[in-house]
């Protein structure tokens, strides 16, 4: 019986790069589940397939095999996209990249609202919600600034706020502290945990930094495209 709090469920995910004889398998029957309120770290050496797994779970890449369900709804079945694949990426999954990739010509507040401004001019309610999100991340005074006026850590917080604004069920972060110093990196990791617990979303963070593992409920390890047994 499926756990009702299970927001992401992946089973036997496979992924190959290259074609014909040069085909290399980068994900081998990867299965994992993420529950609401849970903050999970994904560790592994370079080339182990962490980022590929994260991008596949984030629907940024297609899988070559396996099944993926988000909120109990299948989005990948037998490696094929199901109906609503693109919509799920926009609505149910938030993604934080290694670099913040903020839009340079938008203010901090508008960057948080980018999923809205793609479609229309933000309403006052939407602006208020974005302000509240920034306040939760300790950025309430910086909404009017431009990205170039922020530090690296502040920019990454804005990127997190941007990913959270559409109220996704799952937040995926690919080495979000790679460009930050240890203190800022630790702050961001604890922020993910706090967000997961407070908003009951599932958070999966790819990281190299073993010093921040105390911020996570669980740690998953990858090697050669396979997921090792979960660490409690």
């Amino acid at each position: 019986m499926q756990d009702v709090r299970e927001l992401l469920h992946a089973e036997n995910i496979e992924k190959y790069y290259g074609v014909a004889d040069l085909r290399t398998q980068v994900l081998r029957d990867v299965s994992l589940s993420l529950r609401g309120g849970e903050c999970v770290a994904l560790l592994g050496p370079s080339g182990s397939g962490k980022s590929t797994l994260l991008q596949t779970l984030g629907l940024l890449q297609d899988a070559d095999g396996g099944t993926l369900e988000i909120g109990g709804v299948p989005v990948i079945r037998d490696g094929k996209r199901c109906e609503g694949f693109e919509d799920n990426r926009g609505k149910n999954i938030g993604f934080v990249f290694q670099k913040p990739h903020l839009i340079p010509f938008l203010s901090v507040l508008d960057n948080v609202l980018v999923s809205v401004v793609l479609d229309h001019t933000p309403t006052s309610d939407e602006r208020e919600r974005a302000r509240r999100l920034l306040a939760q991340l300790g950025m309430d005074a910086l909404g009017g600034r431009m990205p170039s006026e922020l530090s690296g850590g502040q920019q990454q917080r804005v990127a997190i706020a941007r990913a959270l604004f559409p109220e996704p069920r799952v937040l995926l972060a690919d080495e979000p502290t790679a460009a930050l110093d240890a203190v800022r990196g630790s702050e961001v990791m604890h922020l993910f945990r706090e967000l997961a617990e407070r908003t009951q979303i599932a958070v999966l963070v790819v990281t190299h930094d073993t010093r921040t593992l105390n911020a996570f409920h669980r740690v998953l390890k990858m090697a050669d495209g396979e997921l090792a047994e979960p660490t409690p």
Partner: protein
């Protein structure tokens, strides 16, 4: 993609949009000028012919030398005595000698000579295409000169020992060559032309005119015109043409080569403008690939992404079209040639510019979509 987002993008990139748009606008201005110069040449050619034509061109026949397309497209020489004979043809209302010659005149108090196209006017029976204020007057030595020569009333113009004095100024009276027209009495015209020929022979230049008449303009009532035309066609020394036919000869002879040159130049400029705009838009989109990749991953629809690219290109061509309009208002009246640009030219420019912007945007959009968004943002 909302206007809000595009507006922010364009404002943030305002200097580049303005400067690049300004450059594009200057290119557009030259494209406009090419068309305007050609139209000015045609207008001037038609206006020159219209000096001799009556207000009702359907009542006019041009009589020129047999086997020629004279007088504007090719040399045509008819003995002046034909004037009286033509007037005697039943049904003929009036006969005007259409004499014109390109002359190089000395301007009193100035070293630089003045090139004009002189037209002979019979002061007692002036051609109906001229305004009363443009008539050179009945006194010998009086002349009317187009304002484009920038000479005041009272200026003395001479060839050798022959001299006329500018008594009136006309507006918009230019030859297809762009030179101002000079209206003088018939006798003065002959003197100037003769002196001009002598000067030409001294300078080893081809003579410009002599005592022969290039063409006669014969008028008759529209009911009599076919009869007069039939009678004149029986004269083997002459060729008869309706006004429209003569105008077509003139445009083919005097303007056709210029039309081809200007048309080719205009086409090249239009292509250059298109290539430059496309490269600019490609470069702009190329520098925003990460933003576009992020929009794609945030779930932006394809039409919205295209609109994002197109609106910036549209802003560029809007600046360009505005600059072209402004520059044409300021610069074209100062051109030595007449440049005629109408509202339809501006509309055509705007439509073409926006189509070009759409084309360049489509190319840039395709190139942006070829990039794998997740790979781009993963770095």
């Amino acid at each position: 993609m909302s206007l809000y987002l595009s507006g922010k993008d364009i404002l943030a990139d305002g200097t580049r949009v303005l400067v690049t748009g300004f450059g594009l606008g200057l290119l557009f201005t030259v494209v406009l000028a090419m068309g305007g110069i050609y139209r000015g040449m045609v207008e001037d050619a038609v206006a020159q012919a219209a000096v001799y034509a009556p207000h009702a061109p359907d009542e006019a026949l041009w009589v020129v030398e047999a086997d020629t397309h004279g007088p504007f497209a090719a040399p045509s020489r008819i003995d002046p005595s034909w004037g009286d004979r033509l007037a005697g043809v039943p049904g003929v209302k009036s006969v005007h000698a259409a004499r014109s010659a390109a002359l190089t005149l000395h301007v009193e108090g100035r070293l630089q000579p003045l090139l004009v196209v002189a037209l002979a006017i019979d002061a007692n029976a002036p051609p109906s295409g001229l305004q009363t204020s443009e008539l050179p007057g009945i006194r010998a030595g009086d002349a009317t000169l187009d304002r484009s020569a920038n000479l005041p009333v009272g200026t003395r113009l001479s060839v050798g020992s022959e001299e006329v004095v500018v008594r009136q100024l006309a507006a918009g009276r230019l030859a297809p060559s762009g030179d101002p027209l000079l209206f003088v009495g018939d006798a003065d015209f002959r003197k100037l032309a003769r002196a001009g020929n002598a000067a030409s022979l001294r300078d080893r230049r081809p003579p410009t005119a002599n005592d022969t008449v290039p063409a006669f303009v014969v008028t008759a009532s529209s009911s009599d015109l076919p009869r007069v035309e039939a009678a004149l066609r029986k004269r083997p020394a002459l060729r008869v043409a309706r006004h429209a036919e003569q105008q077509a000869w003139m445009l083919e002879g005097a303007v056709e080569k210029a039309r081809k040159q200007i048309g080719l130049f205009r086409t090249i400029l239009a292509i250059v403008s298109a290539v430059i705009l496309t490269l600019i838009v490609l470069q702009m989109v190329g520098s925003q690939q990460k933003e576009i990749a992020l929009f794609r991953l945030m779930g932006a629809r394809k039409i919205a992404l295209f609109r994002f690219v197109f609106l910036k290109a549209a802003a560029l061509v809007s600046v360009g079209a505005t600059v072209a309009w402004g520059a044409s208002q300021v610069a074209f009246p100062r051109f030595p040639r007449r440049v005629i640009v109408g509202t339809e030219d501006y509309i055509l420019l705007v439509v073409a510019a926006f189509l070009l912007a759409a084309f360049a945007s489509a190319l840039a959009y395709r190139s942006a979509l070829r990039v794998e968004a997740s790979t781009l943002l993963a770095t």
